[in-house]
């Protein structure tokens, strides 16, 4: 049933419709606006679940793929294409959407986290209309990023997340919100610039194709993912140096490094992480839920999608470097997390640490590693969303989230404390919760490739136990400062997302096959390529 | 070619003579005339009054405006003369073109007129 309708486009553009409707509603009808926004957040989630149900790993995403020629830009033909027998010479930007085992988990994650964040938006106190409009717009961008199958389209969606996020951080954040928004913008803009350059290099070389039609030969440059994939994997292309398709090794390297930097900033990889701390500390809780829960994962996704799939050779050569960076992330994040007094910053550094694990998974170059990377992304997305939901809830009541100021919360807000403890345990990777599975798969994968790195990496996990337990326990137990005595436990509207997220974490922890099953086969092609490279 | 060379030789001779003549005459005059300067003689003449202040004052901006007008219309003739000399070969369309050209300048004249550039209301 889903095959017959452009389900991916509907999924992507439903929130945009929501934005438009929200904008048309009168400013005073807050409840109405909020209801619309929540509805248009949940609808895509339902669609995503339906997609998940009807997704068959063997078939892959082919069933849902959508293809439409969006822009077919004519290029001037006069300067000498006549000898190539071309009748038409164009630059194609297709509208191509597709889903596979790599993107589907992230789409689901997006749906889940965005829905919960929409519920958690009760913390927003001003300018609801604009807030919800932007919030919905952001979702379109995020779905688009995970579903786009054209380089330009991907880039457009990627940038589309930038603008609403800038507003969301800059308007509704805490005191340092503007600075945080600026940093977010410039760093991510820089990343997208690197990405665009890499994309253009790929399009202008490997994107070249000639198609015979009835009216003659059409020469075209295309940003289509499939075309690129085919051209780059074509061994003949590399041999024939005269061909326009020929991508010299130098260019490949340039493109790959550009991509690593681009997605490394988003992920973030160690030296590029500063902007993300600021955002975590200064943005409003629902915004951080989205940011930490989904946006960071776009880095991992992009690295896998474009770095690994399109340029496997370069990935292979660079795997040790990536793995080392991953370990540095883990250890650096964990150590600094131990030293933080602000709970939001603890979480921020722990995110850096966890993203290191993703990087390790990618660098391991085997199925377990790749799956681990994706699984870790999803799991961390859920966990950090939950944690920031709690942060929001606490901040609402105690007006601080500093560890040294809080204490003994278990006695006044037992429900929140319980959830906090669970989330903390999930974060440090307790078996039975989702965090464990991701870490386990990643390390398992890496063990095959670089066993000695695993040893260092696991050391980082020990730190995780230290900082999680230190902060969570000192907040929930111990003496309760007097001024917090009067605070009340969560309302229903807050409890609902907390419970839902916790349930998901537990579910994935005990039944990881929910996710790993759909990922199988998605990496087949890539692995085959990698093996042939290793063999040859 | 020779003709032109001769013309300019003549003009040059006139120039030289024009410069030499005043010099010579003034030198002769110097020999003839008395020279007994005193401060009375050398004061600036203001109809017998004691001169007040400096005379090299800034003068009315109006003079500049006339200078500007002059520049515009004098330059117009740069185009008028070649046109006039060649007019018989150019034909009626050239007349039309010149009407347009001069018309544009006349607009300028009318502009200046309306903006009271030509109204002289002080020294």
């Amino acid at each position: 049933m889903l095959e017959d309708i452009p389900v991916l486009s509907i999924l992507t553009f439903l929130p945009l419709l929501g934005t438009l409707i929200t904008l048309l509603l009168p400013q005073s009808r807050v409840r109405f606006i909020r209801g619309t926004a929540i509805a248009f957040t949940f609808l895509p989630l339902l669609l995503a679940i339906a997609l998940y149900v009807s997704y068959e790993p063997i078939v892959g995403g082919g069933a849902f793929a959508e293809k439409l020629t969006w822009l077919s830009i004519p290029l001037n033909t006069e300067a000498g294409l006549a000898d190539k027998g071309a009748t038409s010479y164009r630059l194609l930007f297709d509208y191509r959407m597709g889903v596979d085992g790599l993107s589907l988990p992230l789409v689901l994650l997006t749906g889940a986290v965005a829905s919960m964040a929409s519920l958690a938006s009760v913390y927003i106190r001003k300018r609801w209309k604009l807030y919800y409009a932007l919030f919905l717009l952001l979702q379109t961008g995020m779905y688009g990023v995970f579903l786009a199958r054209d380089l330009t389209l991907f880039f457009i969606f990627f940038e589309l997340t930038l603008i609403p996020m800038f507003f969301l951080i800059g308007i509704w954040g805490y005191f340092g919100r503007e600075q945080a928004a600026n940093r977010f913008l410039v760093y991510n803009g820089l990343g997208s610039a690197f990405m665009l350059l890499a994309f253009l290099i790929l399009i202008a070389t490997a994107g070249f194709s000639a198609t015979e039609t009835a009216s003659g030969t059409t020469l075209s440059f295309s940003g289509s993912y499939e075309v690129l994939l085919a051209n780059l994997a074509d061994p003949n292309a590399a041999v024939n140096q005269d061909s326009i398709m020929y991508l010299s090794d130098n260019l490949k390297w340039t493109a790959f490094i550009l991509l690593v930097i681009a997605f490394g900033i988003k992920l973030p990889i160690f030296p590029f992480h500063t902007w993300m701390l600021k955002v975590h500390a200064e943005a409003a809780p629902p915004v951080v839920m989205i940011h930490s829960g989904i946006l960071l994962k776009m880095g991992a996704y992009g690295l896998l999608r474009f770095g690994a799939f399109l340029l496997p050779g370069q990935l292979q050569s660079w795997a040790p470097v990536l793995a080392t960076l991953g370990v540095i992330n883990i250890v650096y994040g964990a150590i600094l997390a131990c030293a933080q007094k602000e709970f939001k910053l603890v979480l921020a550094y722990s995110s850096i640490s966890h993203m290191g694990i993703v990087l390790l998974g990618i660098a391991s170059l085997n199925e377990a590693g790749f799956e681990g990377a994706v699984f870790q992304s999803v799991s961390h997305g859920l966990i950090s969303a939950l944690l920031f939901l709690i942060v929001g809830s606490l901040h609402e009541r105690a007006e601080t989230t500093r560890i040294d100021e809080l204490g003994g919360l278990a006695s006044v807000v037992p429900f929140t404390s319980g959830i906090l403890l669970t989330a903390g345990l999930a974060s440090l990777g307790l078996p039975g919760l989702s965090g464990f599975v991701g870490e386990f798969l990643s390390f398992l994968g890496l063990f095959d490739s670089y066993p000695w790195l695993v040893a260092v990496g696991v050391l980082g996990l020990l730190f995780a136990a230290v900082y999680v337990l230190r902060s969570v326990l000192s907040m929930t137990y111990g003496p309760l400062p007097d001024r917090f005595a009067a605070i009340r436990d969560v309302r229903f509207v807050e409890a609902l997302p907390m419970i839902a997220l916790t349930a998901l974490i537990v579910l994935l922890g005990v039944y990881p096959a929910l996710m790993t099953d759909m990922m199988s086969h998605s990496f087949d092609g890539l692995l085959k390529l990698l093996q042939s490279k290793v063999g040859g | 070619m020779e003709k032109y060379a001769n013309q300019y030789v003549i003009v040059t001779i006139f120039l030289v003579l024009g410069i030499v003549f005043p010099i010579v005459v003034l030198q002769i005059g110097k020999l003839l005339r008395p020279s007994k300067p005193n401060t009375e003689k050398e004061t600036t003449y203001e109809s017998g009054n004691e001169p007040v202040g400096d005379s090299q004052i800034r003068f009315n901006v109006r003079y500049y405006l006339y200078a500007l007008m002059f520049v515009i219309f004098d330059v117009e003739t740069v185009f008028l003369y070649p046109w006039a000399v060649a007019y018989k070969q150019l034909g009626l369309f050239a007349l039309f073109e010149m009407v347009v050209f001069v018309g544009l300048l006349l607009v300028g004249l009318i502009y200046a007129w309306r903006k009271k550039v030509f109204q002289w209301n002080s020294i």
């Binding site: - | 901006v61 500049y64 200078a67 500007l68 520049v71 515009i72 004098d74 330059v75 740069v78 070649p82």
Partner: protein, 102 residues
Amino acid sequence: MTMLGSYLTLAAVLFCLGLYGVLTKRNAIIVLLSIELMLNAVNLNLVAFAKYGINASLRGQVFSLFTMTVAAAEAAVGIAVLISLYRRRATVNVDEYDELRR
């Protein structure tokens, strides 16, 4: 061709003098005059090329007529602007035209 060379040299010297004037002189009127000097250098160039250049033709002279005209118009506007500015500032020293720099 030595004739051409000397004309071009003279023009270059004039042009550089004009440029020097534009860049260094403080009196606004001298700045405007320097621009005229540069344009006159161009005229000299054009006329020299029209006479001694390859394909010697009247084009260069015609060009220089246009240059003169336009230079006059430009000078007229320049002076007009300067007059209006002088009314406000009572100075022609370009160093004092600095209200815009902040």
